[in-house]
Amino acid sequence: MKLLNLAFKNLSRHKTKTIITSTAIAIGVWLYIFIDAWLSGIQIDSKRNLINFEIGSVKIYKKEYFEKKDEIPMYESFKNYEKIIERLDKEGYNASPRIKFTGSLLSKEIELPFLFIGVNPELEKRVFKTHEFIEKGTFVEDNLFGIVLGIKGAKDLGVDIGDTVKLSTVIDKKDENNKIKHIYQVMELRVIGIINSTNSIINGKIAYLPLSILQDEMGLMLEGHITEICIRKKDANFTELPKNSEKAKFIENKIKDLLPGDLILVDWDKDAKDYISVSSGDAILSYITIALLLTLAVIGIANTMLMAVTERTKEIGMLKALGTKDSEISLLYFMEAGLIGFIGAFAGIILGIITNLYMVNIGIDYTEFFEKSNMENIGYRVIGIFKSIWNWDKIVLSGIFSTLIASLTAYFPVKRALKINIVDALRFE
């Protein structure tokens, strides 16, 4: 306490320098709190949207499919999955069988590449939220040659409900010798629904159609084959991320005896690994920028402290003469530097909290911007208003960390102060 008072008063010696250094720390801490809360908000929304619209909590794939899933290899499909779905149902899980394939849609005006998802509408509705975001028309209906499009995809194609589109694709099938056959197929479909969801990817060039119409020569000649089963717990809370009971390992234990050796269960975060690594990369880049800013602030503090030791050489000698121990002199300088960090961190936290109050409750509306841009290239599964979330632990940690780092910058100046011989220090001019 005795030294804290002195350390605090020492800050007033170079008020301007103290204010500039503290301000730099404050800006660093404020930016950290703002960006962290903002990215966390986007990421949590993206993750929820990935789970609620694209993956579920766990997916079942053929192992070979998962290994090259970016190519969407529809020939790596499997059948006889009904018993798995029945068992999952008994165990308290909803499951939606799907086939994914690529191709293009042709309207009267244009041909655009699309990703197609064949679904069992009833089962799909239990696992995903997509059907709740039909802006026009209806969701997919069994045995109906209808197609449901994302709003941006429909807009780019220039089609609306009731219009006819042609689906052009190449069916990749393995024959009895495991050789891949390519069969060109064209289907005529009516647009029956348009999706405007909170997931930008789903609103893009994605089209849903019923699995039932894809089974024979009129469709994709699937003969009961699918490429994936998406799973979600029946009582899952769609606003939260999956819990342990929705983990692949946990579910696998319940269906182990039914699971053929070539099928694997994949957790949602492993399935979305590419997205997660890209979004983490974005976050890391932001944190590096903030770290650079804080480094500059820290160099500023170190410089202030070094200057303090040099100009107070005589005073250090006098403090020692009065009986101040080396450890107490160290503490004095560590506290002084720490206080600069603390003042900056405190101001940064206050600014961060004020900014977050706005960002958590109101957010920034990017709707117009996203409507004009190509959402698929952005990667984040969000649309419209970007909101932040409260990360209280990180807010507190940012304050503690900045104070500690600031304090540690006094290490070398302190070392120098302790080396000073009392008699030499007292003679210093």
């Binding site: 002195l6 005073e315 000698g317 006098m318 003469a321 009065l322 009986g323 107490e328 008699v423």
Partner: protein
């Protein structure tokens, strides 16, 4: 009772690779309640002797006793505690802490000793009254004169009731009138409170105040005078 006793005290410095023999076998004793001046020209070793008996520097050879306790082999921290508890210093350049007020500067040694703040404040106020600085408690050092700063330094040296006060040329930076006021004050404290003072000087006026004079030349005591 002997407050200080040195035995065959040597101190060598190395300046630009040249060894300087600052003290060369000093035997020196100061008894309780003495008002002693170490006198000599510049470079005679008087400040060095004061620094050694004030535990501010390490000796080259010999022994130093403070209250009959050998302090020659104490550690840095032990010496710091000894200075904190038993020795008061008055420097030529006052050396007050500029960011602290007059009152806080005087209290500082007691805060190091962990004395209750209220008790420390009362004692500091009492001392400031004695040294004639009543009403100046809230001023910063730069807001008072050199003589007043030296009075603050005296109050700071005395607040912990030290067994010994060492003053290195305490009036060198003051005009003769202020200097004699400071010496009057030190003498008064020595007479009334029985505090032992040892100071270095080469000023004739200061010598006149001293009750005992120890003459130093080339690192050796050449003469002593008791008035």
């Amino acid at each position: 009772m002997e407050v200080i006793k040195t035995k065959d005290l040597y101190k060598d410095y190395v300046v630009n690779k040249i060894v300087v023999n600052a003290l060369r076998g000093v035997d020196f004793v100061v008894k309780k309640k003495e008002f002693t001046a170490i006198v000599g020209p510049s470079g005679s070793g008087k400040s060095t002797l004061l620094h050694l008996i004030g535990c501010l520097d390490t000796l080259t050879k010999g022994e130093i006793y403070l209250n009959e306790k050998n302090i020659s082999s104490l550690t840095k921290d032990q010496l710091a505690l000894l200075r904190r508890e038993k020795i008061g210093f008055i420097f030529q350049a006052y050396n007050l802490i500029p960011v602290l007020t007059v009152l806080e500067n005087v209290i500082f040694p007691l805060t190091l000793l962990g004395v209750n703040p209220k008790e420390a404040k009362n004692k500091a106020l009492e001392l400031l009254k004695i040294v004639g600085l009543e009403g100046m408690e809230k001023r910063k050092p730069k807001e008072i004169s050199g003589g007043q700063q030296q009075r603050v330094a005296i109050a700071r040296a005395l607040i912990k009731d030290p067994e010994l006060v060492l003053a290195d040329e305490p009036t060198a930076n003051l005009d003769s009138k202020t200097g004699s006021e400071i010496l009057d004050l030190m003498l008064k404290l020595n007479t009334e409170k029985g505090i032992t003072f040892v100071f270095s000087t080469h000023d004739q006026m200061v010598m006149e105040y001293a009750k005992r004079l120890v003459f130093l030349r080339d690192g050796k005591i050449i003469k002593e005078e008791i008035k």
